[in-house]
Symmetry: C2
Subunit: 436 residues, 2 copies
């Protein structure tokens, strides 16, 4: 196998030569064999081993093994232990997803801090085939069938064209030692079924089944590139930038055929994977919207308005009396003044002693109310917004300046609060201006 | 199953109602069950049965069965016997391909002559899955994985969303009789392997595997539509019509990424499925070309010239002395004249008695030679073309007017032949003019 491996590096991955490569090494046969192959091919590798501490003694045994491997090969090794289960619980992730996140976070860190150029992983052709069949069984699209690319930004998979059989045969012939992995029992169950019951029969269908499969995946990747290019061209035509939002003509969308595929393709990157919801929106009442985790899509007469959802936790800022921190999302100027000056929508004059500093600048929340300046009694902000005819997105973007006890002082640019107004008894007037 | 079938017709294929439908019926469980379902759903069907005479008694038994089925259901039946093996030999096709061609030819004929609107076939979900896996094993692209569409022009497949299991269960519960088919042993071998060894395990991977698979195929079809739309837009931009040929800028082609996918996509409909050949052509010497069964692609400095290959068998026309048939590919006027008149590239004067009628108008063939007018001796046409600096496509398009014994009389528009020239002994001069 070594000549084929070296030839593959030379012809397809010449950019790896002379670069610092970090090989993700579990201790299993694939990554250990890849380490040996890389060293034999004079590639400059170090090993990175994640100890996910999921299998106690066994995990520690893997760690010891990988450390020894690095010594034997005379290369650097990096090891990190993770509290994977705890991380999974905190972040509400499956243990598998948690391990994945932790691994890639740490790898990125190593790339940056240790001067590595690429990460190598030991995925091979059978991994691709197994993933293909698992995705097929669950239902998927072209991405789920196209497989992982050999080179994806800084992650490189030099074993993708090789079969598990080839790798194993090489490891045995070279008397390479490795650790058997008993983790991921549930994934293993599916993968073992595929490995032992399905793949052998698929190979009987055609003598070069695995190679044909890889060619097929390559074709799918290419078709997917064409479709992506098409969607990107279309986005640059149809998606009009407007005040940080995107405005899209419904008439233009409705001309696209097949509509379902276009709606899915155009909006999937914004988290809208249910094209049916988007399709319904086209003919919905103005004002209706659908939301994804990151975006909202609002029907506004003949247009869809696509806008990012502001995360209200991140959208809380402190406004100190001694100056305006530069990181505020809007520019506010605070100054002490002697008398009321010229009024305006972007200016308020308040009784400074009624305020508790630091002030808080935040977006609105359900249940918010205030005492509109010049009126008696309180008013729900939702009602105020309605009377002001604000659309969903404008509401979302509306800033509220609050006293530190969370009472609304100013619906910024719209209306001050009666409670903080300047009265005869006021000893210090503060003028707050929203600069544009 | 019947309620689901009827619902499927109502929601997805309402256009079938009230139309004349021709159901392709082999006598097997799928097509026989479909016939029963259609009749129960009040669809207006007739049966078409092909007797391919490949299994003698068994084939005839199938025919008798289908005729009886039609009588029982009270519907029309059409039966045709084919000499399939002979057709396969004559047309150098596999028996399977021959049967396919014969079937669809006859079906088209029935559509036209008997006033049917659609052909129904009994393909079901498991057929799609088997085809998917067979294509996967051989290596394929998105088309090979996307499956057959439910509606493809006049061919409709109402059972595609249903599993073989459902159809069989329904047939049994309704005590429907059918014929077992022992044909296509080699295809059967592959399909049986898939049916009995692979599909059951795939179903264990996910409880709704077959449904998920159908959804996946639907997604692939949609992605493929996006890619096709993209390629069509691109063709209308890059493919310049020029005298019946298509001219394409190499610079424009080279900008496309991924180039391989674009070259394949742009030229596959012209029979160029080896994108590598086309890619090589981009950087080849001017004058180099690749040919497919139907087209040639010529590198001509900064352009590729795409042109249809003239079929020289079809490109042979008879030119009778008593007038010019209208179907000639070029316009020729034949007239008897008294004396030599004004000369020109588009006119020749010949000794009529030296010619054998009807004359033959054809393209050039390898080995052609003639006796150029005004020269001594013969000259190969290939040499003549070279001296005249004709490019490949112009050569291809060059017409030759020949005597019926195949001697070249006139390289049309270029040079007459010495052997047929008007001499002192000439008794009747014929003037032939190429009209433009």
């Amino acid at each position: 196998m070594f000549p084929k491996f070296k030839q593959h590096i030379n012809s397809e991955m010449p950019f790896l030569k002379g670069k610092k490569l970090l090989l993700a090494c579990s201790g299993g046969v694939d990554s250990v064999t890849l380490a040996h192959l890389c060293v034999a091919a004079d590639l400059d590798i170090g090993l990175a081993h994640c100890n996910f501490t999921l299998r106690s003694d066994e995990s520690d045994g893997d760690e010891v093994f990988v450390r020894q491997l690095a010594t034997t090969l005379g290369i650097e090794v990096f090891v990190k232990q993770f509290e994977t289960e705890q991380y999974a619980q905190t972040h509400r992730l499956s243990v598998q997803m948690a391990a994945r996140e932790l691994r890639y976070q740490w790898f990125s860190e190593l790339l940056e801090t240790k001067g590595f150029d690429y990460i190598l992983t030991a995925h091979h052709a059978n991994d691709s085939l197994e993933t293909f069949l698992i995705n097929l069984s669950r239902g998927t699209g072209i991405e789920g069938l196209s497989g992982i690319p050999e080179v994806n930004e800084q992650v490189v998979r030099p074993l993708l064209p090789f079969s598990q059989q080839e790798i194993l045969a090489y490891a045995k012939s070279e008397k390479i030692a490795w650790r058997e992995d008993s983790s991921n029992a549930s994934t293993k169950y599916l993968r073992n079924k595929i490995r032992h019951q399905i793949v052998p029969v698929l190979k009987e269908l055609h003598p070069t089944f695995l190679q044909n499969f890889l060619n097929t995946q390559n074709h799918l990747q290419q078709t997917n590139s064409l479709a992506s290019n098409h969607l990107n061209e279309l986005k640059s035509k149809l998606f009009e930038q407007r005040d940080g939002d995107i405005k899209i003509s419904i008439t233009a969308l409705e001309k696209l055929q097949p509509l379902d595929a276009y709606l899915y393709g155009l909006f999937k990157d914004y988290g809208f994977t249910e094209w049916n919801d988007v399709k319904d929106l086209l003919s919905a009442m103005s004002g209706k919207q659908v939301v994804s985790k990151t975006h909202r899509l609002l029907k506004d007469r003949d247009f869809l308005i696509l806008s990012e959802i502001k995360n209200t936790v991140n959208g809380t800022y402190l406004v100190h009396v001694d100056g305006t921190p530069s990181e505020l999302p809007i520019k506010l100027k605070l100054e002490n003044v002697e008398t009321l000056e010229k009024q305006g929508r972007n200016v308020v004059f308040l009784d400074k002693e009624k305020l508790n500093f630091p002030l808080v600048l935040r977006n609105w929340e359900k249940g918010d109310y205030f005492y509109p300046f010049g009126m008696q009694g309180k008013k729900k902000l939702s009602k105020f917004f309605k009377d002001e005819k604000l659309d969903v997105i404008s509401k979302e973007k509306q800033w509220l300046l609050c006293s530190s006890d969370n009472e609304i002082v100013w619906v910024v640019g719209k209306r001050a609060d009666e409670r903080f107004k300047v009265e005869d008894s006021t000893r210090q007037i503060i003028k707050i201006t929203q600069l544009t």
